[in-house]
Assembly symmetry: C2
Homo-oligomer: 460 residues x 2
C-alpha cells in the first residue's frame, strides 16, 4: 500500500492525496454516520486524466477504488469498507462548469460541481436545472448521476437519468470514454451512458456530464389540502392530472402521523387543520391561467369531498410555509426517536391498499411500532418510516415492509439506491434472473471487481 500511495502522490501532487487520519475522517463515513469505514488514502484528482491515472494505479496494485462526491448518499454507497485497503477517489476538485447553452438548453459540468452551484449557474443564464433534493447544497453532480437521484420534482421532470444528455466516464481499466454530446436525440449505437447512471460507481466513474435545462416557468401555484384518507388523495391526483397536466411539479402526501410529529417537534401547525392526511400540490407554468386552474382543482376537490379543507398560497412566502410542513417531517421524526426507514415505490394506484396492508402487517408482526408515512405520491414513492422502540428488530421490520412491497410489484429503493445498506435486501427482492443479469454486466465492465466492491451487488 505504501508503494501505491507513493505512486498516487507522484501522479496527483501533494494537494491531490490525503493520508493523515484527521484528513481522512470526513471521507471515511457517511453524513448520517451509519456506515463507518477506513480508507487507505483519499485521492483528489483535479482532472479526468488524473482520475484515469488513479484508477490505473489502483488496478495495477489490485486495490479497490470507492468514488465519492458530496458524500450525501443515504445508503452508504460512497464510503469505503473498514479494511483500510480501499482508496477513496473524491471528485471534489473537479468543479468546473464547462459550458452553458441557454438556447439549446444544456449545460456541461464536471462531476465535483456542487448541485446547488450548478442550479445557480443555470439560473443566472435564465434557465432551470430541475434536479433538486434536500442535500443539494452539498451533493455533487457526479453523485446525483451515479445515484440517479430523485427528489422533489420528479413527477414533472423525471429522475436525474432523464436529464443526462451526455457523460464522460472513466472505466475500470482507466479508459476515458468521452460521450459529452449535447444532443436531445441520439440513436447512433448503444446508449452506453445509461449503464453508468444509477449504478453507484460500481461500473465506472462519472467525471463530467451534459445536463438538460428547461425554461423557467413564470407562474407557480402551491396548494395544501386536507384529505380524508389516501384513497381521496389518489382521486385528487387524477383530478390534478386532468386539470393541470404536466404543469404539476410536486404531489406530496403527508400522513396524519407526520403532521403530528411536525406539530410536536417544530411547532408548525397546518393551516388546513391538524386532522387527517394532507396533500401538497405544486404546479408551475408560463401559461396564463395556472392559478385559475389550481383554484378549480381546489373547488372541485372540496365539492367532491375528496378534500375537507384547502388553501392556495397567495405569495412565495406562503408557499414556502406550506413546504416547510412537508420538509420538516424527516427532522421531526429524528427528534421523536429511533426509526427504521423505507424508501419504497409501488404502482401509484396501489398506494392506498399498500398503506393499509403494510399497516396491518406491522400491527400484527411488530406491535408497538408507529408508521410515519409521507412522500412523493405523484411518483408512487412513499417514505414509509417506522418509529420503533429499542426492543424492535430493524431487519425484521424491513422484511415485513418489503414483503408487502413485493406483493404490490414495488421497489425497495425508489430513489435512495442500494449502496451497502440494501445489498442483502436487494438479493432477496429481485428475481434471480435479474441478479444474474446484473452480475453479468458488472463482470463485463469491472472484471477485477475493483470499482466500489460490495455496493449494489454483494462481492462475488
Amino acid at each position: 500500500m505504501a508503494d501505491l500511495i507513493a505512486r498516487l502522490r507522484d501522479a496527483l501532487g501533494p494537494a491531490g492525496l490525503l493520508t493523515d487520519a484527521a484528513d481522512l475522517e470526513p471521507f471515511a463515513i457517511d453524513w448520517r454516520r451509519i456506515f463507518p469505514g477506513r480508507p487507505a488514502c483519499v485521492a483528489r484528482p483535479a482532472s479526468t486524466d488524473q482520475v484515469a491515472a488513479v484508477v490505473r494505479l489502483c488496478r495495477e496494485a489490485g486495490v479497490a477504488v470507492v468514488p465519492q462526491g458530496g458524500n450525501t448518499g443515504l445508503a452508504g454507497g460512497a464510503v469505503p469498507d473498514a479494511s483500510g485497503r480501499q482508496v477513496v477517489l473524491s471528485l471534489g476538485r473537479m468543479t468546473a462548469i464547462r459550458a452553458i447553452d441557454p438556447v439549446g438548453l444544456t449545460m456541461t459540468v464536471e462531476a465535483g460541481c456542487v448541485l446547488r452551484l450548478a442550479q445557480e449557474a443555470a439560473g443566472r443564464a435564465g434557465r432551470l436545472l430541475p434536479v433538486s433534493f434536500a442535500a443539494e447544497g452539498s451533493a455533487m453532480v457526479g453523485g446525483a448521476i451515479a445515484a440517479n437521484a430523485g427528489g422533489l420534482n420528479v413527477v414533472r421532470y423525471g429522475m436525474t437519468r432523464g436529464l443526462v444528455l451526455g457523460l464522460e466516464i472513466v472505466l475500470a481499466d482507466g479508459t476515458v470514454v468521452d460521450g459529452l454530446r449535447a444532443l436531445r436525440k441520439d440513436n447512433a449505437g448503444y446508449d452506453w451512458k445509461q449503464l453508468f447512471i444509477g449504478s453507484e460507481g460500481t461500473l465506472g466513474i462519472v467525471t463530467a456530464a451534459v445536463l438538460r435545462l428547461v425554461a423557467r416557468p413564470r407562474h407557480v401555484a402551491t396548494a395544501l389540502l386536507a384529505v380524508p384518507d389516501p384513497a381521496a388523495a389518489l382521486r385528487l391526483l387524477t383530478l390534478a392530472q386532468e386539470e393541470l397536466g404536466d404543469s404539476i411539479q410536486g404531489f406530496e402526501l403527508i400522513s396524519d402521523t407526520s403532521l403530528a410529529l411536525v406539530a410536536r417537534h417544530h411547532g408548525l401547525a397546518s393551516p388546513v387543520g391538524a386532522k387527517g392526511w394532507h396533500v401538497l400540490i405544486e404546479a408551475a407554468s408560463s401559461l396564463p391561467g395556472l392559478r385559475e386552474a389550481a383554484e378549480g382543482v381546489l373547488a372541485t376537490a372540496l365539492e367532491r369531498e375528496d378534500a375537507t379543507d384547502g388553501v392556495l398560497a397567495e405569495s412565495g412566502q406562503q408557499a414556502a410555509a406550506l413546504w416547510a410542513l412537508r420538509e420538516s417531517v424527516t427532522e421531526s421524526e429524528a427528534r421523536e426517536g429511533r426509526s427504521v426507514k423505507h424508501d419504497v415505490s409501488v404502482p401509484i394506484t396501489a398506494i392506498p391498499a399498500f398503506l393499509d396492508e403494510a399497516g396491518a402487517v406491522l400491527a400484527a408482526g411488530a406491535p408497538g411500532t408507529r408508521v410515519n408515512a409521507f412522500g412523493h405520491m405523484g411518483d408512487g414513492n412513499i417514505h414509509y418510516n417506522v418509529l420503533v422502540e429499542p426492543a424492535h428488530d430493524a431487519d425484521a421490520i424491513n422484511r415485513l415492509v418489503h414483503g408487502v412491497v413485493d406483493r404490490f410489484g414495488g421497489s425497495i429503493s425508489a430513489e435512495h439506491g442500494i449502496g451497502q445498506y440494501r445489498v442483502a435486501e436487494l438479493a432477496r427482492h429481485k428475481r434471480p434472473e435479474e441478479i444474474a443479469l446484473a452480475r453479468r454486466i458488472k463482470a463485463a465492465l469491472d472484471p477485477d471487481g475493483l470499482l466500489n466492491p460490495g455496493k449494489v451487488l454483494a462481492r462475488s
Copy 2:
C-alpha cells in the same frame, strides 16, 4: 437447418412457423425495399415462453435470430441477411394489451401490439400514449422500444426510452427476465432495461413492456410561421420556450426547398407565403390561456421580425392542414427523384451554422445536389436529405454530411437507428473507446453473436 425447422414446428405448432417462399417474402425485406434478405424460416411465437423456446433452439443449432416487429424501420435493422441461414422471429402474434391503469398512468402491452392500437386503447381509457410517428399504423410496440423511436412529439415527451417503465426480455440464452414493474421510480439495482431500449434486438428480445401514459391535454394551439432564415427560427424557439414552456409538443422546421417540393408534387400552398423557411409550432395544455400565450408568441415574433407572416389554426381541421404541409415533405421528395437521406442531430444552437456549413460543403464537394432539409428543430434533429443526380455517389455524400455533423459534435442517427444501413458510418463516427465499450456489452449479453448479428455493430 431442416432439423431446426422441425424442432421449431414442434415447439410452435403449424401456425407458428412459416417456411413457404411466398409466406416468407413480407418478412424478408424492409418496407422501403432497400435491404433484401432471405430467412431460413419465420418463427411466429404466441407467447414469451415460445419466444424463449425459439431462441434456445436456434442457439443450440448455432443459428442467428433476427427479431422483427412491424418491419417499418428505416435502417434495415429487422430483416435477415441473404444467407438463408437466419431465422426471423416475428413478434406479430403477441398482441395483447395486458393492462391499462388510467389512474397510475401506465399500460402493459405485448411487443407485437401495433402502436396505433395501443394509442387507441390508451385513448379509450381517457389517456394519451405519447409515442407517435409516421409508421404508427404498422409499427409494433416492441420495435418502437428496440429502436428507441422518436417522432413528432419528442420535444415534449422525449424518446420512447423515457416512456418505458418496465420490460420483459428474452436473453440470448433463452432466459426470460421479467421486469414488468409499473413504477415511476425504481433505484433498486442496475436499471438493466436501458440496455435493451434502442439496441435494435442485438442484446435481447423485447416481449412486453410497461409504458407511461399521460393525461390528455385539453387545448391545442398550432401555428405556422414564415421565418427569414434558420437563425430566426432559433430565436423563435427560445421565445416559444419562454412563453409556452413544456406545453410545446412540436417545433418543426421546413426549408424553402421542402415547401417548393410540397407545392410542386402535392399542390399544397403555404397559407403564410411560399417564400422563406417555415416553422410549425404546436403546443397543448389543459390550462386555460394556452391560446392567449400562442397569440402572444406570434405577435412578438412578427414584431421582432423573426417571422414575416404567421397563422394560428382556428380549428382542428386547420391544424391538420398546417401539418399536411410538413407531413408531405417526405413523399414530395420521393416524387422529385433520388435522394440521399440523413437523420442527423446537432446541438440545437448549432442548427443554423450546421445548415450553412453542410450546404457549403455539398456545393463544393458534390455540385449539382440540392438540399431538402426539414425536421424536428426543437430536438436538434434535422432530416438533411440531399437530392441527387444519377452521377452522384451516395457514400461520398454521406461522408461529406456526416463530416460536418462530427465537427458540430452531432449524431449521424438521431432517431432512425443504425440497423445494417449505418454500421460502417457508425464505426467511422464514434470514438474507438465507444465502439470498444459497445463490443464489450454485446459480448457480455450475446457471447455467441446470434442475436441480430451485423446490426448496429459489424460482425466481429
